[in-house]
Structures are given as C-alpha cells and as structure tokens.
C-alpha cells in the first residue's frame, strides 16, 4: 500500500452570498453581498441607489405649503414625521408661533405614529425570526393604533395633520375622539405587556436572538447611529429631550445594554409604554383654544435646518425660502445613519442570521433612497 504523501490541507473557500436587489426575505429593494467563510459572515456590503424618487427635486420651486405636503410621501410608515419636520422648518425660518393645542395634537399624532412603527418593527422582526404567531399578534396590536390614526387624520397612512401655523381643522380632537384615544391606549398597553411577557418567557425565541448582531457603543458612535438602534447599545440619547415641543411632557429615555437583536427588540417593546404615557399626558392636559395660527407672513429665508426624533432616529429637513418657494431642499432619514450599522451587525454571525441582523436596525430603504436623478431641467 502506497502511503499518501499529499499534505493535509483544509481549504476554506470564500463564498459570496448575494441577495437582491429584489428578494423575498427583504421587503424593499436593496442588494446585500455577504462574504462567507465556513458559514460565518466575514464581510458584508449593502448597496442602494436603485430606487431614485427625486422628491427633493420635485420640491424645488414649489410653494412652501405644497412642498410640505409632498414630504409626507417620503415614507409610508413615518409620514407624519416628515410633514411635521418640514412644517417646523418653515415655522422656524418665518418665526411663527404655534398654538399650544395644535402642538399637543401634533405630538399625539407623532406618538401614535411611533407606536405603529414600533409594532410594525416587532411584527417584521418576528416574521424574519420565523415566528408567525408573534408576528400576527404584533400586527393585531398595530391595528388599534391604525384605527386611531384614521380617526384623527382620515387616512391610515397619510394623515396630513400639520400645516404651517398649526394643524388642519379636521384633526381637531373632540371629546368623543379623546375618549376613543384613551380606550385605545388602555387596549394597547394591556396587549403590549402581554406580548412582552410571552416573548421574553419563550426560551426558543430568546436563544435565537441573544448575542446575535451585536453593535458596540464604539461602532454606534463611529457610524453616527441614531434612535432606538443607538439606545439599544446603552447610549441615552433622544432628541425629544431637547425639543421645546416636548417641554411639557415627562418621559424616560429607555435604553438597553447589549446592542444585539434582543436589546433592539426589547428597546422598542419598552418604548411603547413610555409613548402611551406621553399620549395620556397630552390627552389629560390638552389645552383649550385655537388649533391654527393664520396670522403670519411669508418672506425670504436663508437655509433653515430642523432635526426631530422620529420612530427610527433623527430626521433632518433643510431648505431655504425664496419668493414663497422652496429652494435646495435636503431630507436625511434616520435609516441613512442606521443602515451603516447593519453591515457591521452582520459580520461575525452565521449567514442564516444576516437578515435578522439587518432587520434589527429597523431599515426603511425606500424612504432613504431619494438621490436626485435629473433627466431634463
């Protein structure tokens, strides 16, 4: 028998797993390249830029009110956040005072939006996790909020609540609406606490999400991550604490320690009762008086910038006003900063967890992907 003198060599072949641009596991168009070695992700690359919508380009030269209404179309989940911030930008530049009642209604709508966004996140997360029952339960909870939003704004997605100087008259909160809001908050609170209880006590779910997709504080700071994804790493940073609109409200900034999938999910779950608390305060102390200030004048302004805290992080709107029209509009959605963290989160984990690592950062690629492509000026 001849001896085999070939050297024993374990070859590790680097494999590329490509997902997208359109893929059943991803709800939006983006391309993920995972460089896998022994089923462990060694490097990841996410590419966007296939979904040019050019909203800033369409806004160029539009009257400010129309441009504000257009910003609502940036996102189908946090639509109110965009119109609110766009209106705040104009109000900041023109020095317009907003009636207190209008400010409270704006906050109620925004916080309802946070609730439905967080419920959607939980539903999506559980679906990627492979737990359809939890996913459907989260969607069922979200339905309560969607109905309340429809009651206030008339629609389930585009509410059009904020206008320059206040809110639209159809969004006025009558006694009956306030009563329904209070009942809705009770239902949601009970539902979310029950959901959290069952979620945390499920050992299979917890073993699947613990220690997966870790983003450290250092990485989060370097990538300028914002919102719940940042707070899940233990950094207590919430723009609402610095916004004058929230001065009258008491709330805690929720944080988690580990920066993994578990922390990100619990972060949103625990933020829901805090948000319910803010809505309850707003209903209880809702000031009387007008809901819109129409005594303001339009004049030219240099570039105005406005930052607010939306369900997914920090939202930035900026434009100048020239002859009552918008110039040089820029919108930066929170996912812009957060999707940098997704690549990092994938690295070092098993290839089957990659999608979960991406989803834990609550991505919204469609509203992020708005680079201008001009065919004809």
């Amino acid at each position: 028998m001849t001896e085999d003198k070939r050297p024993i060599k374990q070859e590790i072949i680097e494999t590329e797993v490509a997902m997208g641009t359109v893929h059943p596991a991803a709800l939006e168009p983006y391309r993920v390249r995972l460089f896998v070695e022994d089923e462990i992700v060694r490097d990841a690359e996410i590419t966007i830029g296939v979904n040019h919508r050019g909203i800033e380009r369409i806004m160029e030269g539009l009257p400010v009110e129309k441009a504000n209404a257009l910003t609502e179309k940036v996102c189908g989940i946090c639509s109110n956040a965009h119109i609110w911030n766009s209106v705040l930008t104009a109000e900041k530049g023109l020095g317009i005072d907003v009636p207190e009642r209008a400010n409270y209604i704006r906050i109620i709508v925004e916080e309802l939006e946070r609730l439905h966004s967080h419920c959607l996140y939980l539903a999506h997360g559980c679906e990627v996790l492979g737990h359809e029952t939890f996913s459907m339960r989260a969607f069922y909870l979200r339905e309560t909020v969607m109905e309340l939003l429809r009651m206030i704004g008339g629609n389930r997605v585009q509410y059009g609540a904020s206008i320059i100087g206040g809110v639209r008259p159809r969004c006025e909160l009558t006694e009956m609406r306030i009563q329904k809001l209070a009942e809705g908050m009770n239902t949601l609170e009970k539902g979310i606490l029950d959901f959290a209880d069952r979620f945390v006590s499920d050992p299979i779910v917890m073993s699947r999400i613990e220690g997966i997709g870790v983003i450290t504080q250092k990485q989060a700071k370097a990538l300028e991550v914002s919102g719940p994804t940042l707070r899940a790493t233990g950094i207590s940073q919430d723009l609402r604490a610095t916004m004058k609109e929230y001065d009258d409200f008491d709330f805690n900034i929720v944080t988690q320690d580990d920066g993994d999938v578990k922390s990100n999910i619990l972060m949103r779950v625990l933020e829901i009762p805090e948000t319910i608390n803010i809505i309850r305060q707003a209903i209880k102390n809702l000031p009387k008086g007008p809901i819109v200030n129409r005594s303001w004048e339009m004049f030219d302004c240099d570039t105005i910038k406005s930052y607010i805290e939306v369900p997914r992080g920090t939202l930035y709107h900026s434009y100048a006003i020239e002859d009552g029209r918008v110039r040089g509009s820029i919108i930066r959605t929170p996912s812009m900063s957060n999707i940098g963290a997704m690549q990092t989160a994938c690295i070092g984990d098993h290839v089957t967890d990659a999608q979960l690592c991406i989803v834990q950062c609550d991505p919204c690629f469609t509203c992020t992907d708005r680079a201008i492509k001009i065919i004809k000026i």
């Binding site: 690359e45 996410i46 590419t47 966007i48 830029g49 296939v50 040019h52 800033e56 160029e60 300028e224 570039t303 930035y316 900026s318 110039r327 040089g328 509009s329 820029i330 919108i331 930066r332 959605t333 812009m336 900063s337 999707i339 940098g340 997704m342 690549q343 992020t368 708005r370 680079a371 201008i372 492509k373 001009i374 000026i377």
Partner: protein, 86 residues
C-alpha cells in the same frame, strides 16, 4: 454601505451626508465614464471627496452660500457634452 452612480449620470447626495463634521451642504456627483461607479455612503468627512475623485467621479461640493441649482445645471450641461462626444 454603497450607492451606485450609473454611467453618464448625475446625482446629488444631500440626503446621504451626515453633516456633523462636514462643511458642505450638498455634493453633486457626476459619472462621466462608461462604467457604473460605487460610492461609499453615508458621507462623514472631507476625506471622502478626494477618495471619490480618485475613483474617476467629478465631485462638486455645495457650500452654504452656493446656489445648488446653478452648480447642478452647469455640471449637467458639461455631462451632456461628454455624452454627445461619446
């Protein structure tokens, strides 16, 4: 994360800038080549400009006082000339 600038295309990167340590308001990117070029986003610092010029892109930073539209129109007209030549 990457963003694709297709061949003979012009895009503005306003919404892709994390402007905390960045002196410009916007960036106009022109790809005059025949190949799509991938750029790294978000944009965090000024170093990004030189790195992406090296890739063959024309990078036009837009400052606070600059007119975005005039710069864009000018860049667009230059790009049209390149396209005609090809």
């Amino acid at each position: 994360m990457k963003f694709v600038v297709r061949a003979h295309h012009i895009v503005s990167l306003g919404g892709y800038i994390v402007e905390r340590n960045f002196p410009y308001r916007n960036i106009i990117l022109v790809n005059k080549s025949d190949e799509p070029i991938k750029v790294e986003i978000p944009v965090f610092n000024e170093k990004w400009i030189d790195e992406h010029r090296d890739l063959g892109l024309e990078v036009i930073p837009v400052g606070e006082g600059d007119s975005f539209l005039s710069l864009f129109r000018k860049a667009k007209a230059d790009l049209e000339l390149v396209k005609l030549e090809n």
